[in-house]
């Protein structure tokens, strides 16, 4: 187990080192994009699990990001004051799920509490993912790719074309998300450092869950499904059910990423659901080595950060398109293949593969 958690500790150290570096070079503004990168990375590692371990492509994952973000945004930003008297609102109020706040002009707003909104968004994501995933995962090859692409476009069109979801402008004025002990997910610059650590803390927590899963009985089953699905079924592994579960898990990761990033940014727009975003996420996972969580995470850190800082300029989408093409042409298993590391390890440890193996 040590070999599993050591990289996590190292990564945590890296995160701290980066923050200290920005502190001492007086460039704390970098933390903003780094925090956003963290939230995107949550989606990326979940997607990596789906593509690499369940062997399923998804060209519509931005759709789940948007489902999480929009539901949360809508519930926490939509003013319920106008229907204050209705039974529904008073029920929510008695259940302690509402919160009052002041808007920009000093008037008062009545919104759903972010925790409640978060739960609703995640539950909705799970339901949709099970509903969509069931039939979609029975497809293969280009049919699967087109179906997931289509799902993403449906979500995009819905959020783009619906008035009460803000149409082309999206939803803004989304409040911060109060966590525990005074920590809050918000874009306020005074809380920049704590938000940075909260975001990356979530990433590390997510990585821990996924690493544990990979090294567990289920993880082994997933690798076997990916290796020889009918043989896996022949020894009792419920392949379809497990693939669906991984799909839903990756959808939840994407949704949580959407929820928290929306609270951090204070809003969300339809472009978060676009095909370009979905393609970008797949490109990052592909470059990182389809079944390599650490590869996907590091690539996400680098590429998302550069993109958010604007290094790619007007060629932002182009870059990811080109990356995708190059990887698919030359290294379809990704650059940082899982076995690259174990192969290197074997080289250095004199040929004896450790007990923990994988």
């Amino acid at each position: 187990m040590r070999t599993r958690y050591l990289p996590v500790a190292a990564f945590a150290g890296l995160i701290v080192a980066i923050q200290l570096a920005t502190h001492f070079t007086d460039s704390a503004y970098h933390l903003t994009q780094l925090t956003m990168t963290a939230y995107y990375s949550i989606l990326i590692v979940g997607l990596c699990m789906l593509i690499g371990y369940a062997g399923q492509i998804s060209l519509g994952h931005a759709g789940f990001f948007a489902i999480g973000g929009y539901i949360s945004a809508f519930l926490t930003a939509r003013d319920l004051s106008s229907i204050k008297g209705s039974g529904f609102v008073s029920f929510l109020s008695k259940a302690g799920l509402l919160v009052s706040r002041a808007d920009l002009y000093g008037g008062s707003l009545l919104n759903v509490h972010p925790w409640c909104a978060c739960v609703v968004a995640v539950v909705a994501t799970v339901v949709i993912a099970y509903f969509v995933g069931g039939p979609v995962l029975k497809l293969r090859g280009h049919y699967l790719a087109m179906a997931t692409l289509g799902f993403g476009v449906i979500i995009y069109r819905i959020v783009l074309g619906t008035e009460f979801l803000g149409a082309a402008d999206g939803i803004s004025d989304v409040p911060g998300f109060p966590l525990i002990a005074g920590l809050e997910v918000t874009g306020k610059s005074s809380l920049r450092v704590s938000n940075y650590y909260v975001a990356w803390g979530m990433v590390i927590l997510g990585m821990l869950f996924l690493l544990n899963l990979i090294h567990s009985r289920v993880g082994r089953a997933l690798v076997s499904i990916h290796g020889a699905e009918d043989a896996a079924g022949a020894v009792g592994i419920p392949a379809a059910r497990y693939k669906l579960n991984v799909f839903v898990l990756s959808a939840v990761f994407a949704s949580l990423a959407g929820i928290f990033l929306t609270h951090y940014n204070g809003g969300i727009g339809p472009s978060e659901a676009s095909v370009m975003k979905s393609v970008r996420y797949v490109a990052i996972v592909a470059v990182g080595g389809m079944a390599n969580l650490w590869g996907a995470l590091s690539m996400s850190l680098v590429l998302n950060y550069l993109s958010l800082r604007g290094y790619f300029g007007s060629f932002d989408d182009t870059v990811f398109g080109v990356i995708l093409i190059l990887i698919m042409l030359f290294a379809p298993d990704g650059l940082l293949r899982r076995h690259l590391f174990t192969d290197l390890k074997r080289l250095f440890s004199g040929g004896a593969a450790g007990e923990e193996g994988r």
Partner: protein, 286 residues
């Protein structure tokens, strides 16, 4: 009426998909970009050339692009998986799209109406039809007819069909499979570009118009049975009409939601399409 216009263009895109699919087993997601390029190039060329020449020029340019895509990205791959190929073509379509964005900017363009103007109409019995719609349907019909004659009666066309049926056998008979594949890309590009040029006075064209067309064209191709171009025509009409009728039920912004829902429905229920057969679709291996 809009249903027929859009239906025709969807059918054209679907036929483009089918040509390449039949020759290679690949789904070329960049098909929609061929249509977009046809329109965009025609508009640009129409500034220096008379309209018919501009359209021919646009078709020629797009054919070259199609060939370049095939040579650069497809030709030298050895036995790639179908999934890998569709992702590559998605990447290519993004590339083409972004290049179009940098060349032509974000503006929406259109060719002038071929005959008359946007308000003129011809009386066909009890219906008033814009002359451009007749152009769209007419040109498309001629193109489809020409293609089908090409495949049935010319040596080259028969060679392509041989490739589609059994690549190795065709190779053994002396057919240059590599060139056939390039040719299939060029033909797909040509028909897409022609459709794009003819339809853009009505539908307008901008750098982003390719992707939605690709999705809908794919839907139509599946609906008619992948590889079956005659059925694609019928399927295109069905989708176009369904889409235009959906406006009565749902707000116009959801038109694409309707067509994609149809796609998902078909994929889940009957991936071989309404005209295809389950056996035939299983033969095209994944």
């Amino acid at each position: 009426m809009a249903g027929i216009t859009y239906g025709t263009i969807y059918a054209i895109v679907a036929i483009g998909f089918n040509i390449i699919y039949n020759a290679t087993g690949i789904i070329n997601f960049a098909q929609g970009e061929f249509v977009m390029l046809g329109g965009m190039a025609a508009v640009t060329l129409s500034r220096f050339l008379p309209l018919p020449m501009a359209i021919l020029g646009a078709v020629a340019i797009t054919m070259v692009v199609g060939a370049v895509i095939e040579i650069l990205f497809i030709r030298w791959l050895r036995g790639p998986s179908v999934l890998r190929m569709i992702i590559i073509t998605i990447g290519v379509s993004i590339l083409v799209r972004e290049i179009a964005l940098h060349v032509w900017g974000e503006s929406v363009r259109a060719l002038p109406y071929f005959t008359g103007s946007s308000v003129s109409s011809i009386n066909l019995g009890s219906v008033y039809v814009s002359p451009q719609v007749l152009w769209v349907v007419g040109v498309s019909a001629v193109a489809v007819g020409a293609l089908s004659a090409f495949f049935s009666y010319t040596m080259l066309g028969r060679q392509m069909r041989a490739c589609a049926a059994n690549r190795d056998a065709a190779r053994l008979c002396g057919v240059n499979v590599g060139n056939m594949v390039t040719l299939s890309f060029m033909l797909s590009a040509a028909i897409g570009a022609l459709g794009g040029a003819v339809v853009c006075p009505i539908t307008y064209v901008h750098y982003d118009s390719g992707t939605p067309l690709a999705i809908k064209g794919f839907t139509v191709a599946i609906l008619g049975g992948l590889g079956n171009s005659m059925a694609a025509v019928g399927a295109g009409m069905i989708l176009g009409i369904l889409e235009s009728f959906s406006i009565w039920v749902l707000p116009a912004a959801y038109k694409e939601v309707v067509s994609i829902s149809i796609l998902l429905l078909i994929l889940f229920v009957r991936p071989s399409g309404i005209f295809g057969s389950a056996e035939a679709s299983r033969l095209k291996e994944f």
